[in-house]
Amino acid sequence: MIRVENLVKAFGAKRAVNDVSFAVERGEVLGFLGPNGAGKSTTMRIITGFYPPTSGRVTVGGFDVAEDPIPAKRLIGYLPENAPGYADMTVHGFLGFAADLRGLTGDAKKKAVHKAVETCSLEGVLYQTIDTLSKGYKHRTCLAQSIVHDPDVLILDEPTDGLDPNQKHEARSLIRRMGANKAIVFSTHILEEVEETCTRVIIIDRGSVVANGTPAELKGRSEMAGAVRVTVAGVAGTAVADRLGAMPGAARAEPLEDAGGRSTVRVYPKTRGAAFTAAVAQAAQAAGWQVEALITEEGRLDDVFRAITLPDTVKRGHGLSA
């Protein structure tokens, strides 16, 4: 549905987006990750036709967004960053306006507005003006606007920003539900959100795609992935770490916790695989420890995220202070 090819966007000398390519098909939920200022919003603005690209091409449903914007825009629902809305309009009026511009009239319009209101639980504030809404409601109003025409493509710029934990949960399950028959791109800072909702993740840093894969694949890139965490009762953490670290397949072992007569140690393998977990279990048995827990780590997305994007951020930080 969405095809982004060698996208470049320059603001003056600065390249906000630098040679970004990816594609999103129907049924996919693509999580867009990256530090602030990485070019996430700029990319989304180009996909939705707000910014023309400096070079490269974006097609939505086969229509070139820069050359044939109107049919492309018809397919897209867009929630911009900070969820803007006309301050002096009521929620109902605002959604009606969005439906008008989407070409909905009469009964179809009424039904569409009603459905969007229901989906985003806005019944209670329907006749309140937007400037009187709380941040959460404002966000949901703008989200309702983006889905009023049941678009094939949804572009959501930080859709859960400013929502409370319950609302976040609702928004995520809504995105997951809608993702079944739409192509969705959403950006976020919250990594657990990505694990929970996305079928694929793109990490973008300083305008370039630095990682692209399923959440599981990315987690697998974590140093921690495949490591084994063992909790043993009655043995000191350092003793456990020494013994397990000396195993032939182990790269190193580190004690994590040592309290209340039980210690937890994480052992990193030289090569990942189920065999390593078994080897650790055997070693623990051979040592005669009372093993309380033995867990193979999946890896953590935030580790991967930091590993990929942090060095640059640090460099930039030095640049600023110099």
């Binding site: 603001f11 910014y51 825009k73 960053e81 803007p84 809305g85 006309y86 309009m89 008008d100 009239t105």
Partner: protein
């Protein structure tokens, strides 16, 4: 047609925006009070002893100078400030449709304000028998004048997200358009510039063209002047908005 439904939706929203806030009512009251004050007190409507609305229309270029930019200043700067510009322009509407829709809505609002001055027309018809054709031409001229100022306000509004800046810049441009043909200024110009130059400058002025409407003459070249001024300013609005997005 699709373009019309889009423009109509935008016009409807904009007009709704005016009347859902006190802005519209404050503006209407002030406009009517000021027209009354200028017509009857400063314009010496009664002392003139003639059945015409000359003292009414004479003041419109000056009155609009401040009131029309006040109506137009929020057109685009508000959208930029709220971030709704991004929303509007990612809808399946063209920039041109959005510009025309917003302009037409404000123009309708100004037309409404102008229409509400009908008691002046009734008064002059009760007191005497004026040439209603001349008065009609005057109203047409006044509406075109308001439209021209409004298009300029639309242009300056697109330049900035600050409404005050937008207001001041459009007042300055409108003031220039008045002064270029204002008799004291043209008299000054004549002293050092050749007459043809003075004529060229004066022909850019709204005063020169507005005057003929007041005399009851609707001439094609005057209508074309205001029309092209509106067209140019709206086109410039489009260029400014495009450059905003191009970054």
């Amino acid at each position: 047609m699709n373009a019309w439904t889009n423009i109509r939706a935008i016009v409807k929203r904009e007009l709704g925006g005016y009347f859902s806030s006190p802005v519209a009512y404050v503006f209407l009251v002030i406009f009517l009070l000021l027209t009354g004050f200028f017509t009857f007190t400063i314009g010496n409507f009664f002392e003139r002893g003639e059945a015409s609305l000359v003292s009414f229309f004479t003041w419109h270029p000056w009155l609009y100078l401040f009131l029309v930019p006040a109506v137009g200043m929020r057109l685009w700067s508000e959208e930029r400030r709220l971030g709704t510009l991004e929303l509007l322009l990612t809808m399946p509407v063209t920039t041109a449709q959005a510009i025309v829709g917003k302009f037409v809505a404000s123009w309708i609002f100004l037309a409404l304000a102008l229409a509400l001055t009908f008691p002046v027309w009734i008064t002059v018809n009760i007191l005497g028998s004026p040439d209603n054709g001349v008065i009609f031409a005057g109203y047409i001229g006044s509406l075109l004048l308001a439209g021209s100022y409004l298009a300029i306000a639309s242009m300056t509004s697109a330049m900035t997200r600050n409404q005050v800046v937008s207001f001041i810049v459009s007042v300055m441009i409108c003031l220039f358009l008045i002064l270029a043909g204002f008799t004291p200024v043209t008299d000054l110009l004549v002293r050092w510039a050749s007459p043809w130059f003075v004529d060229v400058v004066a022909s850019f002025s709204v005063m020169t063209h507005f005057d003929s409407f007041q005399r009851g003459v609707i001439e094609l070249r005057d209508v074309a002047f205001f029309g092209s001024l509106i067209g140019f300013a709206l086109f410039a609005t489009g260029v400014i908005i495009r450059s905003l997005r191009a970054g």
